[in-house]
């Protein structure tokens, strides 16, 4: 099995000499479903940010989807991000765009025609049970609905790796269930690798997964 994420002696920091993640090593295989758990401030979001290059590597090595992030340039970073779908805790939707256009974003970046982008967006919005809200703007939706739009956007381009930062943190049970079901389905049908930072792993997930626990800047595998 090929490795999608491989970190060795990884150091991540917002300020020099104040590392959040200290000399940590982790490896994630293709099609793995991985949960990152740990208390607030343990560095879960920090680690996820480093995976899509928002936070530069301060030390050690980090390879994601075959790209070395410790020495990546802007052009290659854009290329890497085209292979990744990210679901943010605060959704990060473009408020002046409609729901449909938000979902189309990764496909537009990948260079697909408008027709293809629209077809794929409609398909995904149907999966997240929002096909009746395609022409709405994000601020017209509830938090749960916005997160489902963000979910559809993250899956639109069939990414190799899906990164989700507390995807169900603020959501009601219905929206949470829609999101977990979709993540399971994506892994099963597309074969994406999924890495989720969360406080609680759903009890009724019904799939094999790996769990890592973050504490004081270190990542431990939970068997």
């Amino acid at each position: 099995m090929s490795k999608i994420i491989q970190a060795s002696d990884l150091v991540l920091a917002y300020k020099k000499n104040e590392p959040i993640i200290k000399n940590t090593s982790i490896s994630v295989e293709a099609k793995d479903f991985v949960f990152l758990t740990g208390k607030s401030g343990s560095g879960k979001s920090t680690f996820l940010k480093s995976l899509y290059g928002e936070l530069p590597v301060a030390g050690g090595k980090l390879n994601v989807c075959g790209f070395d992030l410790e020495s990546i340039n802007h052009k290659k970073l854009n290329l890497l991000r085209k292979h990744i779908g990210v679901i943010f805790q605060d959704y990060k939707l473009i408020n002046e765009w409609t729901v449909e256009k938000n979902v189309m974003l990764p496909l537009m970046i990948a260079g697909y025609s408008k027709q293809v982008c629209q077809m794929q967006a409609h398909k995904l919005l149907k999966h997240v049970k929002l096909s009746h809200k395609t022409e709405k703007y994000p601020l017209e939706l509830s938090g749960g609905e916005q997160q489902r739009v963000a979910m559809a956007r993250a899956l639109a381009h069939n990414p190799v790796l899906i990164i989700a930062d507390e995807p169900t943190g603020n959501l009601d049970d219905y929206s949470s269930e829609v999101i977990w079901n979709l993540l399971k389905s994506v892994r099963q049908h597309i074969g994406s690798t999924i890495i989720v930072a969360t406080h609680r792993i759903p009890q009724t997930l019904g799939i094999d997964y790996k769990q890592y626990f973050l504490d004081e800047g270190n990542i431990y595998a939970v068997s």
């Binding site: 473009i94 974003l105 537009m108 970046i109």
Partner: protein, 269 residues
């Protein structure tokens, strides 16, 4: 509403900038037009003992349009009753030749001084009358008009460009969240900035056409038309298509450079 306000904040300074450029251009054209009219009316008188060879003079002094000898007969006829025939013959022989010179364009003060010196060096030339005093007043007035228009345009341009850059900064701040999110999904630079460029291109079109319309309406309005007519200035020198095309080119260059500077500045932050 907010979007309209944003567009107007960009279109208004761009309109003022283009208006001042077009105003200055038209004023220069009107002054040039007026100068060529004056050049047609303006005459230099040369008094010479010898006949001036016209073809050779035209070769040495290319700024001369025509050189004509003024006939002496008219003046001599007036004196026929008062003086004897012998004196008249003697007078006719001793009178110098008078030439009237017209120039191709209205000369500057320096050009006129040079021309006078060159004319005086010609064999037989005794006197060159340029009517300097009248000429200088007119020349200074036209020079003042051109300089004033240039200074006005430069000042307006600086203020307008500063306003445009300020508006661009506001736009970039408004667009920064969208550009950031697009960047997280791997959007290249041109795609992140596309909507900003699209906005400025549309606004550049609107501003150029509005200036074009303004210059079609204003010079043809009754008040202006009377003033221009009284001054003898022809302001029908506005070609909507070529002038608007030039204004559009200027506004596109200014807008695209400004938006690129602002985006690059934000990229470095």
């Amino acid at each position: 509403m907010q979007s309209l306000k944003n567009h107007l904040s960009f279109i208004v300074p761009l309109f003022i900038l283009l208006f001042s450029i077009q105003f200055s251009t038209m004023l220069n054209r009107a002054v040039d037009n007026y100068e060529s009219k004056l050049a047609g009316d303006y005459t230099i008188i040369v008094i010479s003992q010898k006949k001036l060879p016209q073809k050779e003079i035209a070769k040495v002094l290319p700024e001369i349009k025509t050189i004509k000898e003024i006939s002496k007969e008219r003046y001599i006829k007036r004196l026929q009753k008062d003086i004897s025939k012998t004196d008249l013959v003697y007078l006719k022989a001793s009178l110098p030749r008078f030439y009237s010179i017209k120039l191709k364009s209205f000369p500057t003060k320096e050009q006129l001084t040079q021309l006078t010196l060159k004319l005086k060096k010609l064999p037989g030339v005794q006197k060159v009358e340029t009517y300097k005093k009248t000429f200088n007043k007119l020349q200074q007035f036209l020079h003042l008009a051109k300089t004033a228009s240039l200074i006005f345009t430069v000042f307006i341009s600086i203020i307008s460009i500063l306003l445009i850059i300020k508006q661009m900064e506001i736009w970039t701040l408004q667009h920064s969240q969208r550009m950031y999110i697009m960047g997280l999904f791997g959007a290249p630079y041109w795609m992140k900035s596309a909507s900003l460029y699209k906005s400025v291109v549309i606004d550049a079109f609107i501003a150029s056409i509005l200036v074009g319309i303004a210059f079609l309406i204003i010079p043809s309005s009754a008040n202006f038309a009377t003033i221009y007519h009284d001054l003898g200035i022809d302001l029908r020198n506005f070609n909507f298509f070529s002038d608007v095309a030039m204004l559009l080119l200027i506004s596109l260059v200014i807008s695209i450079i400004s938006v690129t500077i602002i985006i690059l500045k934000n990229k470095q932050r």
